[in-house]
Symmetry: C2
Subunit: 224 residues, 2 copies
DNA sequence: ATATTTTAATAGTATTACTTTTATTTTTGC
DNA sequence: GCAAAAATAAAAGTAATACTATTAAAATAT
């Protein structure tokens, strides 16, 4: 599988960038180092000027790739969801039993990324942490409806739909498959955040994974 | 109940503000109009300068009350959670049946605020919308651990704990009461957001309330 | 009526989030 | 291998943000 991923290029909506960062060495350095910097500084303190300094390049050159840092965040998070979707499809495709398939799917989307598959300049471990801490900020904006129309969230939406379809496969009478799917995906990020910063608000810890909690939650809801 | 609320003053951690906005007419105008402006502009575009202009006052005067707009957001959201907690306690206190009590609690925390109880300068309808759109931003920061230590999120945490305790009352063998509580409270905000901006990702709409979905979710999990 | 506190007005600073222009370097097409 | 085109770097500039500091005026409290 690692092998196959070597050639994977996640397809990102080309309105998100001005110039495709995958198309040049500078572009790749922008992506690689923006992940380090956003992880270190947090999205609010991260600026293109600082990034330019870090990669020994100019602020204005970065603007040739992304209109602003919000678009860069959309790029990074879209890439992440696309990467997760690939794993989801790959790892569940051969499972014929629908319960098992859904269980596996929940495991994949709720686990924290432990090792950098390092097939590229993208560090998935850090990117996963960025998504936990920053993803909400990409859509909790006044521009969300326009950006949604432009398809900026389509990969994420496709992922929610995939899980929804698996839920329906298990129990087609369950009345809230979309809400349950979005709850699990968003809730997983939230439980990971709580685990790090508000331990009294979660039961997840070293021993109890979010996967365990969410599998219990989902299958209790789908019992007939 | 409206009557009783007239005298309610939500107690906010006094480190959140420099000068208590409840203590002066200017302070109250700051709160009242910041709610209008954050709702209109979104938190990112909201500034103290604009607020100063709107209330016919000076930017620097607002800084006498709040260190920065992040602290103002913490104030507003703390007030909101305190107000919700009051309703929760008030409306569930007399219910002796623990299932019924939890059901009522979920209804209260997942409903959207429909009418301004207008006992004060605070518009709860708009504040509820602000919480849906902006609350995550108050804790998804690099300062969260320090601010948590300083008790900035204590009202919210107390609310999560109250629901957790009600969950345990219904089924003390359920292994994830804290996670379930935090999932419902955070998930309710999320479902309301999806309802407005990503209808394909939720089953909630005019007819199906988030309350309905979450009551089903919770009680399916608590069945013995 | 005076002292104290609060608010308003003004000005100033450092930083952000860009844009523009021009020069230099790199790539590519022939 | 060279010219043209494209990409990048450097520098400078702008408007806005997120503040701080100072001083004056107004409100209030004793």
């Amino acid at each position: 599988m690692k092998y196959l991923l070597q050639d994977l290029k996640v397809r990102i909506n080309d309105k998100i960038y001005i110039k495709d960062p995958e198309s040049s060495a500078l572009g790749k350095r922008i992506i690689e180092n923006s992940i380090f910097m956003i992880h270190d500084l947090g999205f609010e303190s991260f600026t293109f000027k600082k990034l330019g300094e870090k990669i020994g390049s100019n602020e204005s050159s970065i603007y040739r790739y992304f209109e602003n840092k919000h678009k860069l965040l959309l790029y990074l998070t879209s890439w992440y969801w696309g990467w997760l979707e690939y794993q989801l499809v790959f790892d569940t495709n051969s499972i014929s039993n629908s319960e098992e398939k859904l269980k596996k799917a929940i495991e994949i989307i709720t686990r924290s990324v432990k090792e950098d598959s390092s097939f590229s300049h993208i560090n998935e471990v850090l990117l996963n942490k960025i998504v936990v801490n920053e993803y909400s900020k990409s859509y909790l904006t006044k521009e969300v409806d326009n950006e949604n129309k432009d398809g900026y969230f389509s990969i994420y939406k496709r992922l929610v739909t995939r899980i929804k379809d698996m839920i329906i496969e298990v129990n087609n009478e369950y009345p809230y498959p979309s809400s349950l799917s979005s709850t699990v995906i968003e809730g997983a990020l939230h439980q990971h955040f709580l685990k790090e910063h508000f331990i009294s608000l979660t039961d997840c810890n070293n021993k109890v994974t979010p996967a365990k909690y969410f599998i219990d939650l989902v299958f209790n809801s789908l019992r007939k």
